[in-house]
Structures are given as C-alpha cells and as structure tokens.
Symmetry: C3
C-alpha cells in the first residue's frame, strides 16, 4: 500500500505519518531526506528524531530515493519517507540531469514496491507565486511531483492543524 | 451551470477543467487570459495549448472578460476561462477604475449566462502574507473575487495533487 | 463549545465566525487582537467593524488573550476571537518569554472556559517557506498553535472562497 501525506509547515503531517507507520504492525524503516547543513535544520532533524521510536531503523538519503526504496522495501516492512519536499529541493540543487533521472526512477519504482510505503510532503503551492525563477521552478516541480506520486498512491491525505482530510482512498 | 475550479500552482486544476469541458459534450470555447509577455509565460501557454483538443476554439482576452463571456455564451456551449488569477493580475495592473468596472461587470454577467461556464483560478492566500502593498492587494482581491464567484457558481472544487475536493455542489 | 475557523487571506473566515456567533443566540463579545498601528491595518479593522452588529461588546486585547477569555467567558456568552494570527504575531514581537507564557496560558485556559468560544485564524503554512528566520519562526509557531488549539476544540472548519469544510466535529 502506497500513501502520500500532504500538508503545510507544522501541520502535523509527519506526526500522522509516524502514527500510521507505528500502527502498521510492520517493521518500520525511516528514510530521512534532510541534510543537517545548518543549525536550524539540525534542530528540526533532532526534533523529529526525538519523537520516533528507538527501534525504527533510520537511513539518511538526500538524493537517490528510488534506489533506497528498492533496496529497503519488503512485504513485512513499512518505509516512511520524510520528506519528498527536501528530496526535490536537494535534487534541483544538484542539477537538471540528476533531477530528471531520479524523478523518473522514483515514479517507475513506485508502482513495483512491495510492503507499505508512506511519503510525507509539504504543500507549497497555495501562497503567492514567489518572484525568483528558481523558487517558481521548485513550486512547479513540487506540484507536478505531488500529482504524479498521488496518481500512484492508494491513499492521499491532506493534513491541516493536525486534522486529516482524505483526498483519495482506494483500499 | 457555472463552476469554479480552485487550486494551487501545478495542482492539476487546468487539467481537471479541461477534462470536464471535454466530457460536457458541448462545443468548447477556451478563453485564455494570459499574455505571452516573456519567455517563461510563453512556455506555460504553449504547455497548456499542447494539451487541448485541436477543435476547441481559443480566444485570448486579458481584460474584458464579461464582454467576451456575454458574446460567446450559448446554451450548447461550454466556456472554459483559464484563469481568473491572471485576469485579476492584468486588471490590477491596468488601474483601479478599469478593475472595479470589469469586476462588477463579470459578477453581474455571471448570473445571466446560458450554457456551461468553467472558471479556473489559483488559490494564493494560504501562505505568508507578502510584504509588498501591491502583492497584498492582489492577495486580498483574489480572495474577495473567489468568494463572489463561488457564491454565483453551482459547483466549486478545490484541487490538490490532481485530486478534487467538492466545496459546493448545488446541481 | 470551542470552535476554530481556519482560512486564507479574504477566505470568508471572519464572516463565517460572525454568522455563527450571531446565530448562537448568546450574548456576543468580540475580542479583537489587532492594533491599528498603520493606515492599512486601520482600514481593515474599520472594514470588520462596519460588518458587526452594534450591540456586540468589543474588547481590544493584543497580548493577554487567556486572561481576557477567563474574565469574559460565561455560560450565556459567545466569545469571538479574531484572530489568533495577529495575537501570535504581536506576541512574537514582544519576546520569547511572554510568548511562551501566554501560549501556555491560552492552551491551559481553553479546556476550562464555559459558554461558546470561536477562534478565527489564518492558515499561512501552505506557500513557499519564506527566507527570513523570523517569518519562518512565525510560520512554524502558527502551525504548532493551530494543532494545539484544534486538539482542544470541538469543531474545526477550513474556509475557502467563503465555503466551509469541516475538519473536526465532535458535538
């Protein structure tokens, strides 16, 4: 079962994803896409870590998400990817060729993965379109990615103020 | 039947509107409010055009939307306006007097139009309120416009990650 | 009954809250958190005031919301707080110590208040994460606050284009 949890900044999307992973009864592998490049991001990562059960295996992978998912996915496992937004941001910073390759690899892999996969991602497209060309590109690619991932997912949930709204539920 | 499709950047709102127009069984007239003033906007317009059926009649009207709708609307036609956001932006750039005149003309016309009308618009008010006074004005007028158009529409749909949520459905 | 009305800029959230207060049949006390520090904010405040019934008692309280709620709440009263966003912004400007104290005081008071309480707040976390550290902090604290208040509320509603979506309804 593949699932996408969308929400704004501090909307409770990660907490919901973690709750679903914990309740799955499966072995949980947490795949973090964040890199602690500055103090603020380091604090955010620490804040997330403190909330997770100690026995969850944690993998940090900022770029090669498709390969990591293929290596880790198993029928008795729940993979929790937090979050697609930072992965996209990392990829756009790494150049168009790698971005396009990894994007397509993720979408191709997605349909084939065994077990349960939960993606967390930030909705960023509902404010004023920002001035910078790069930010606008990020905003556009984020929207495109969400559409493509949502199309491959069995469930899509939008979280606001910690409260889930179901956008798609196929099983 | 009047319909408003709201969504963020690359949320799939235009694709949904085009699908509904195609499925209407009516003659479709596509009313584009965009002007290709720079290369990036030119690309976005070309991207949208490539997706539309060749037999749809296309009209470009950046400002006088009410008059265009009144000329084009007919019982056997579906008019697809993509999008209100650019029309609003064009109008705010053209001065307060024209803006207020065209805004009121649209809302007055809306209640009278025969056939099917589908409006696409960007939700832009769910991020941090921007610093610039003009941007804040745009954000406010966008919200006011959506409220007024939604009140006149039979259906209002919010699209996230390509997935529609029904906000209003009267018939 | 405690209720949170969330929405974007000019989404119709205040109008919905005022309608609910008017329909409550209770004595309404309107608690404004805005301070008219500049002409634009003065106009917004005047715009809101013009819409409210004259017989509503109005209190302006930019910072000490918990104390005001505790003083004013009564079984036969409906308190309408418009809005949490400005209160949060005022508090963050007043320093971390006061902010943390008032935030905790509000959440502690919330569970105990008699009568009906309606909070209005802006959803600001669904756009691009802004560059400034203070704005990012505001965005994060806003999301945290909404989660905490929503958890204590019986009803939570999200307003888009004047149309309500129910996120939570316990009674």
């Amino acid at each position: 079962m593949r699932e996408l949890i969308l929400g704004g900044a501090r909307s409770g999307k990660s907490a919901l994803a973690e709750q679903l992973a914990a309740e799955s009864g499966l072995e949980v592998v947490y795949i973090a896409t964040a890199e602690a490049r500055d103090g603020e991001m380091g604090e955010r990562i620490a804040h997330h870590k403190a909330r997770r059960p100690d026995h969850w295996h944690c993998i940090e992978e900022p770029l090669q998400l498709a390969a990591t998912l293929q290596q880790q996915a198993a029928a008795n496992r729940c993979l929790l990817v937090d979050c697609l937004t930072l992965w996209l941001s990392n990829l756009l910073g790494a150049g168009d060729e790698l971005f396009e390759h990894e994007r397509q690899a993720l979408l191709a892999a997605l349909a084939q993965l065994p077990g349960r996969i939960i993606f967390v991602s930030n909705e960023v497209g509902l404010g004023i379109v920002p001035m910078g060309e790069l930010t606008r590109r990020f905003c556009d690619e984020s929207g495109r990615l969400h559409q493509a991932v949502a199309a491959s997912c069995d469930r899509v949930t939008f979280v606001t103020a910690g409260l889930p709204m179901t956008l798609k539920r196929e099983k």
